[in-house]
Amino acid sequence: MRDFVIRRTLAAFVVLVLVSMFVFGMMHLLPGDALVVKLGETGRIPPSQMAELRAKMGIDDPLVVQYINWVRDILDGSMGDSLIFTGRSVSSRIGNALPVTIELGILGMASALIIGLPLGVISAVKQDSPLDYLIRVVSLFGLSIPQFWLGIIIIVYGTRYLGYAPPSKWIPFEDDPIGNLKMMWIPALVLGFGFAASIMRITRSTVLEALHEDYARTARAKGLAERAVVYRHVVRNALIPVVTFVGNQAAFVFSGALLVELLFLLPGMGRLTLQAIQNRDYPQVQGSALVAAAIVVFLNLLVDISYGWIDPRVRYS
């Protein structure tokens, strides 16, 4: 077990190093001069400061040196300075935005589980009934609706007919938990909708499988009510693949959260990154991407390690 954790952690670290090279590589697909030109085109930086900026960005250094400098900035915690917001480090801006995205991601996944799990169980228990077909069609339809379009429609028609308006001012959870949840529940549902459909489909198939396992038959044979068989034996065992799925969706939840928060004007990583791209604030883009990847790698590591805790049959080898 300890060896497994150490080995997985090392592998995760290697992946993170590769991600950093990959992100760095993508940012340097264009030669540095072209980057500076693009930056100049935005008009955010007066031409008089461009020369100074060139020096600061170290554009004339070899790529290896630039990469090492970036890694040094990451290690000292600042991740470099924003080019546009002078005096702000990349990491301090991420520090403000990240909690919003993480909260939205957690709430979105929670709502997906609350909707998807029971529907999946019902659908499996009542296999081939009209209810099963209805749930399956709705879930497949749910997979086909782009989250951001659903968000647009809710904002458009909610504003028009239901008096809903996307929040105009961000209320941090620690200041006013209720006010915060009031503004977050609709975006969270929008984010969770598509994932609920996937969770429902996976739950349905694993529950169906578990219903025919020997232990379910044994439980029935000893005279347990079907209800008890389903809840005490089947569902508990069927949850393992669902947990794996939820863990492996981290990258997609993060992506979805970026879009949803942009729609609902929440000040998270989506707005930060998109703004950075529009301003050609390269260190910021680079930093956002790395932090997003680091979170995904960390979550996947947690899922891997937690297998044994969720399912004692798993042997770490």
Binding site: V15, L18, V23, H28, L143, S205, A251, F252, I277, V285
Partner: protein, 301 residues
């Protein structure tokens, strides 16, 4: 006796059937077993045909501006009305389908092809090559797709080719993983050993013996991927990171639609519904294909 006459009858009726090409017979049986999936395929073919025939079906070019038609409602000449610059929404929807479907099919084709090759090599070679490829795939998969695409959009020019390349980068790892998984099982099988024993080269073993056996999961995965690529491309378009305006894409139509909904709610609905119909049909088709090609996965996602 009864059995014999049955056989004779079969033989008697057999000749005309054998002249039908194999794929036609396969397709006929697919239609019989999966009518919903076959109907979805028909819908998809129709949508593709409409995209190809856009110049014939559109009553005016997608970027022709007509100020009198600004935010106009539906009319005979403009079935879906006009947008904020008085361009015909119906025409933009048709031309937008070209980019959305083109990106969906193009990026999936490139990404899956790359993924298949990487998966084959990784699974067959094993050892250091396998580990290196797998860690690189892990690294790509660790980046949330939208972040990856945002970063690429910031350095690449936003044209059709680059959008396809960018999207295909995040498709390849998933395919590579699936293919590698099946290769690991396949390469231990007797028929591969037999091929090796008679002296087949690794290239021949990989492409003639292993590759055809990985098709079923790859086809299923591909069909579903096309749908998610269409959604991702629309998201990029919505954020203004896909093919640059004034070209019409379903994504950037949603963008203007969302901004002008107060004057004309149809602007946000039309492209959204186009996306949903297309992706829903793709998902239904994918479900049907999976049931036929991979009985083990029946009923699973």
């Amino acid at each position: 006796m009864a059995a014999t006459s049955q056989t004779t009858q079969d033989v008697y009726f057999a000749p005309p059937e054998t002249r039908v090409p194999r794929w036609v017979r396969w397709f006929a049986s697919f239609t019989r077993r999966q009518p919903i999936a076959a109907a979805s395929l028909a819908v998809l073919v129709l949508i593709c045909a409409m995209a190809v025939a856009a110049p014939l079906l559109a009553k005016q070019p997608p970027d022709a501006q007509n100020l009198a038609e600004r935010l106009a409602g539906p009319s005979w000449d403009h079935p879906l009305g006009g947008d904020e610059l008085g361009r015909d929404v119906w025409s933009r929807l048709l031309y937008g389908a070209r980019i959305s479907l083109g990106a969906g099919l193009g990026a999936t084709a490139i990404g899956v092809a790359a993924g298949v090759v990487l998966g084959l090599v990784s699974g067959y070679a094993g050892g250091f090559v396998d580990m290196t490829i797998q860690r690189i795939m892990d690294a790509i998969m660790a980046l949330p797709p939208l972040i990856l695409l945002m970063v690429l959009a910031s350095t690449l020019d936003q044209n059709f080719r680059n959008v396809i390349i960018a999207i295909s980068i995040f498709i390849a790892p998933g395919t590579a993983r699936v293919v590698r998984g099946s290769v690991l099982t396949l390469k231990e099988m007797t028929f591969v050993e037999a091929a090796r024993a008679i002296g087949a080269s690794p290239g021949r073993i990989i492409f003639a013996h292993i590759l055809p056996n990985t098709f079923a999961p790859v086809i299923v995965l591909t069909s579903i991927t096309v749908g998610s690529v269409i959604i991702i491309e629309a998201a990029l378009g919505y954020l203004g990171l896909s093919v640059r305006i004034p070209a019409a894409t379903w994504g950037n139509m949603l963008n203007t639609g969302a901004a002008k909904w107060e004057q004309d709610p149809l602007l946000a609905l039309a492209p959204g519904i186009a996306i949903i119909i297309t992706v829903f049909a793709i998902n239904l088709l994918g479900d049907g294909l999976r049931d036929v090609l991979d009985p083990r996965l029946r009923g699973k996602t």
